[in-house]
């Protein structure tokens, strides 16, 4: 366990000592700021039914932030170490492959959550400005952050896999960005639970991130969604571990 924590600390340390870490934070801050302005404008237009968390998810700002930052956060994890050779030094210490993978993932997740913190500030400011606490229901906010964590986990695990596959950070970033966009495009399908759709259509419908987000933002935590995110994250981390192990296959 202490080895794991040492590795996580190193991951975070590396991110905060790199320029990319600060760029990610700056970009998220900027977009969260624009988002705040956007929401205030909308609220000025009249009373809305939905809580602001839902408005936030519907505004596409979430995706504009999520899609580019997750590849940037994870692109370093394996690729940079492979390129600099420290990977060899790491993998010749008595540390398990899965331990390395989990630590890199956990480091990325912690950073990702830290990068989202400004959003909490945005919501808080909105509440102060509007004097209408019902816009910011605690349960909806918690649900929204849970959704944000779960979707982030899935995207970051895909990013870890992409990074483990290559020694170039650029390729890792592009690869995980493409995977992320593909998943997002699937979610964009008109989401009518049309009985005419085949099994595939229904499967895609279950994978629709948009649908999940809507529920989360309302404060509804559906166990199906939880299972979907946890299993798919574990699946991608499993693949990453296999890739890390593949060095020792003959």
């Amino acid at each position: 366990m202490s080895v794991f924590l040492t590795l996580v600390r190193r991951e975070l340390g590396g991110t905060f000592k790199s320029l990319t870490g600060y760029i990610v934070i700056a970009v998220v801050l900027l977009l969260a700021g624009i988002c705040l302005v956007d929401m205030i404008t909308k609220l000025n237009g009249g009373v809305t039914e939905a809580p602001v968390t839902q408005m936030f998810y519907q505004s596409y700002f979430f995706w504009i932030i999520l899609l580019p930052i997750t590849p940037v956060i994870t692109m370093r994890s394996f690729a940079a170490e492979k390129a600099s050779g420290t990977y060899e030094a790491l993998m010749t210490t008595p540390v398990g492959d899965w331990q390395v993978v989990l630590a890199k993932f956990a480091g990325a997740l912690v950073f990702y959550l830290l990068a989202w913190l400004p959003l909490l500030g945005v919501l808080f400011v909105l509440r102060q400005v509007t004097h209408q606490p019902e816009y910011l229901e605690p349960r909806a906010t918690a649900g929204a952050f849970l959704g944000l964590t779960l979707i982030g986990s899935l995207y970051l695990s895909m990013g870890c896999l992409a990074s483990a596959l290559t020694r170039s950070q650029i390729i890792a970033a592009v690869l995980s960005f493409l995977m992320g966009v593909a998943l997002w495009v699937i979610s964009l399908r008109p989401n009518a639970a049309d009985p005419a759709q085949g099994a595939l259509g229904r499967a895609f419908d279950h994978m629709s991130l948009m649908r999940h987000m809507e529920d989360f933002a309302r404060g509804v935590i559906d166990s199906r969604h939880l299972v979907f995110y946890v299993t798919s994250t574990v699946f991608f981390l499993f693949l990453t571990t296999r890739v890390v192990e593949s060095r020792r296959w003959q």
């Binding site: 202490s2 040492t6 190193r10 600099s84 030094a89 010749t92 210490t93 008595p94 540390v95 296959w249």
Partner: protein, 319 residues
Amino acid sequence: MESVPMIEVRDLTKRYPGRTAVDGLTFSVARGEIVGFLGPNGAGKSTTMRILASYLPATSGTARVAGFDVFHQTDEVRRRIGYMPEHNPLHLDMRVREYLKFRARLKGLGWRRSRERVDTVIEQCSLRDVERRIIGQLSKGYRQRVGLADALVHEPDLIILDEPTIGLDPHQIRAVRALIKSLAENHTVLLSTHILSEVEMVCTRVLILNQGRIIAADTAHNLERHLQLDGQVIAEIAAPANDLRETFRDLPEIERLDIQPIDGAFMRVALTPKNGHDLRPIVFEQVRTRGWTLRELTRDRHSLEDIFVHLTKGRKEDQ
């Protein structure tokens, strides 16, 4: 445990698509030895070391470190080795002390123990002055010592160093060599290099590799003697060339004679002995009885370089 050799390699082979990097290597290293891997680039030194550090699998054959199989008992092996990979990769954004502490923790040392050990290796590798500096800002010599300190930090039985002195200036090379020599008391060391004088100075035993095979294995001294390479004697004598020729031509110990004028009255006499005789006393005796002036008398010590060229040339002719 004492009887188990530190490294035992049998028929080790590593094939990459279209290329055999290591070809049926067999050798063993006893505890407390400093063994040098010597060979040109691409001889299979790094690959062998990576297999021993259980970073890469072998295609066939077995390798054991302290009795543990490097493929099946990876953790046991990793705990017992301190490995410094080629080019000495370090986290350049970390500070020296922070990095060593991090590595010590990764290698399973507890919090208190890792602090003690980091202090010890910082002292041992003379890093006290730079312990709070960022590694990326250090000179190559210091970085190399940080790499060595990392290899030592968990008190491994076996230290594997891949080209530890590459890219250093002469001062730094001497410092690093002295450090490696000082390790011999408590550790077994396997190091690779393509600098021949290095193994001569540091190692108790040399394994010469070429194209993935061991072509010679012995102490540097024995290799020299065994190959009967030693012995050309160079003398600078002030005497007429004809006298010199007549004197040395008839001596039974001399195989070949070459005389060249250098400056003034001095001649450069190169004498090759038969059967490894030491010709220096003979030359001196001749000079004394004839009353010549001698200003230099040296014997070419055949360096490992010659041995190496000799051995690899022989191989090429075989093929």
